[in-house]
């Protein structure tokens, strides 16, 4: 049956600014990065075509593989407490009897408004092992005798990088969870209440199962965001033996500190593939449960 909608060709003209903008600002740099990854270029001389040698180098680069592990560890350290905290606070702040919930939602969202760089600097100062507040506080209350050099310890440095991310994003996830909870029809809870369900049962049998799509959304976006961790951890440093260096930090150091643009471009494509794989796994896992 022929559609009655008037599909005038001028419609394409109206949507063209976005596509032209995307092509110029998005697509061309992506393709140019791929071209660069097939060259040797230091930013001074003209690029020289070298085929896949940058990718071969990447496959044998133990520093790059170390950054993949670091990123995953930091991401896990960050996402688990982040989601638990956001969910618990969302459950509490979604209760009718809580007063000032709008105020608390705004307060918990505040860290999301601060740039990650600022948060990174803030955390590096409070975890400074000689002058930072954390050591001073722990020593004053007698929990520590000698100060801990947090950022020179492989695990603590990763945990602090994760804490920056967790603190920045739990407020955002909190808002998303609350939005998800508010979209659950009130009748479902009322019916459960009539049937004598306890609060605990309502959480586990109604709220959490119906929030599954919201969980998937936060999980997938956090996989993509978490694997691109950069500015916060950059302010905290590479950690001892590069143990807190993330994939994007490595890309940045390669391309913009060592000025090896071509290897940096290959690293960018390597990271793209890794993120794509993890996103696909997450999406697939969500479909399996349906």
């Amino acid at each position: 049956m022929k559609s009655k909608v008037n599909k005038s060709a001028y419609g394409y003209l109206f949507i063209s600014p976005f596509f032209i903008g995307y092509a110029v600002i998005g697509l061309v740099p992506i393709l140019y990065t791929f071209y660069l990854s097939l060259t040797k270029w230091d930013g001074f001389t003209d690029p020289v075509y070298v085929g896949l040698s940058n990718y071969q180098r990447l496959l044998h680069d133990s520093f790059f593989f170390q950054t993949i592990g670091n990123t995953l560890i930091i991401w896990i350290f960050s996402i688990v407490p982040q989601l638990i905290l956001a969910l618990l606070l969302a459950l509490i702040l979604n209760e009718k009897f809580i007063r000032g919930k709008h105020f608390f939602r705004a307060v918990f969202y505040f860290p999301n408004l601060i740039s990650a760089v600022t948060l990174g600097v803030l955390f590096s100062l409070i975890f400074d092992w000689q002058t930072g507040a954390v050591n001073k506080m722990l020593m004053n209350i007698g929990l520590l005798h000698d100060p801990i050099n947090w950022l020179k310890d492989p695990w603590w440095s990763r945990a602090i990088a994760a804490a920056v991310t967790c603190w920045q994003y739990f407020g955002f996830n909190l808002i998303v969870f609350i939005a998800g909870m508010q979209s659950i029809p009130a009748e479902v809870f009322e019916a459960a209440e009539v049937d004598g369900a306890t609060k605990r049962q309502m959480v586990f049998k109604i709220t959490l199962p119906l929030l599954r799509q919201v969980f998937m959304f936060t999980f997938i976006t956090s996989v993509i965001g978490g694997l691109q961790l950069f500015d916060g951890p950059l302010m905290l440093g590479d950690g001892p033996g590069n143990t807190a260096r993330t994939m994007i930090m490595y890309l940045y150091e390669t391309a913009f500190k060592a000025f090896d643009y071509s290897y940096g471009a290959a690293t960018a494509y390597g990271i793209f593939i890794i993120i794509m794989v993890f996103t696909a796994i997450t999406a697939r896992a969500s479909r399996l449960k349906e």
Binding site: L13, P17, V24, G43, Q130, T131, N149, K152, T254
Partner: protein
Amino acid sequence: MNAKKWLSIVLTASMIMILLAACGKGNSNNDSSASPAASPSGSASPSASASAAPADLKGHLVIWTYFDQVKQMADKFTEAHPGVKIDVQIFPGDQYETKLMTALQSGRNVPDIIDLDRGYIGKFLESKFLADLSAMGGEDLVKSYLPYVQAYGRSPDGKLKAISDNSSPGGFWYVRESAKKWLGTDDPDKISSMVDSWDKVIELGKKVAKDSGGKVHLIQSASALNDIMSYNTASWVKDGKLNIDPKWKDTYETELKIRANNVDAKLPFMSAGWGSALNDGSVILTSMPSWAVFMVDNKDGKAKGKFGVAKTPQGFFLGGRYEGIYEKSPNKELAYEVMKFIASPEWQKYNLEKTGNMPGNATVFDQNQDTFKSDLFGDQLILKTYADQMKAMPALQANKYDEGILSKWGKVAGDGLEKGASYDQVVAAFKKEVKNTYPELQVE
């Protein structure tokens, strides 16, 4: 075609044009240096322009820098040459280097004069983008220079490509009161002789730690030795191979001894704690470049006469800013007049008095060392303290690898120091880092 369709076409076309215009804006702010009005009238031979009367110079120059005090230099230059206009564009932060490289590579919007930091000057000197100042008469400008200052502006073939108006000498800064209390004197000469070798530093540091019950340290960090030794050792690259000067072994082992004997406060360079210790004297000696006065809390002049500066066991310099001329600048000769100006003793003396930046020209050292005083250092003749060591510093040339490799060494040796790793372990980790970042170098 009806009016509605025309309107939609016109609107769409306008949106596309606005979008494209916005994208192209970066490039449309075009090459001010290529402006026809920019050519200097005094464009004869360099020697002719050297003798040109102020009124003869006319034109417009663009300088790119990361350092705001360049404006003072431009003002002083234009005061003497009112026919010249200088547009100083300041790009603070570490994105300056990237911006400069992009501009040079594309050849668009490139300034006439380029400021280069010592940290990355090597690769610029090796590139095709800097004018050969030797061919323009530059050798005359630097003939009275401190050897290391003029050598650092040369390309590998020995041609002068950049000139600095400063020398960034380093020394041990100390709070006089603190030095009197723990070392028994605040006299710079006596303190210099108390720490004229690393063995003496360790012995004195042990005594200070013992006397203070471990609360006061002699130096800020053992890692400071890396900065001091970096210009007293051979280049990291020789004939395409990684070259580790044997002096690094002694240096690292000295660092381990310093750490083991509680001589240093383990404070990273320019960290918050480092700044506090410098100001409150809880660390007695801080190895500092002369330009780092901004780290001193001198609100309402409270640091007046508070500090002294002593010699480090070996002379060193840290940082420094050079200026070069863009090879394709249409204003090369006028830009060269600026080079002549910054190399002149008149400007460097003025700069010394106005900003405290130490001169690169040895004549200025000689002429002012018996008179120059700085507020922070009271009556001390600080140029005199620096002079001998700076004149004796080896005239090393920059290359595109040394600073990058030095920073790798600093990072790996710093990690090693924390763990108490052996020299061999540090070298193994260092080689791995170098091999990874510079695969074109041979690492044995």
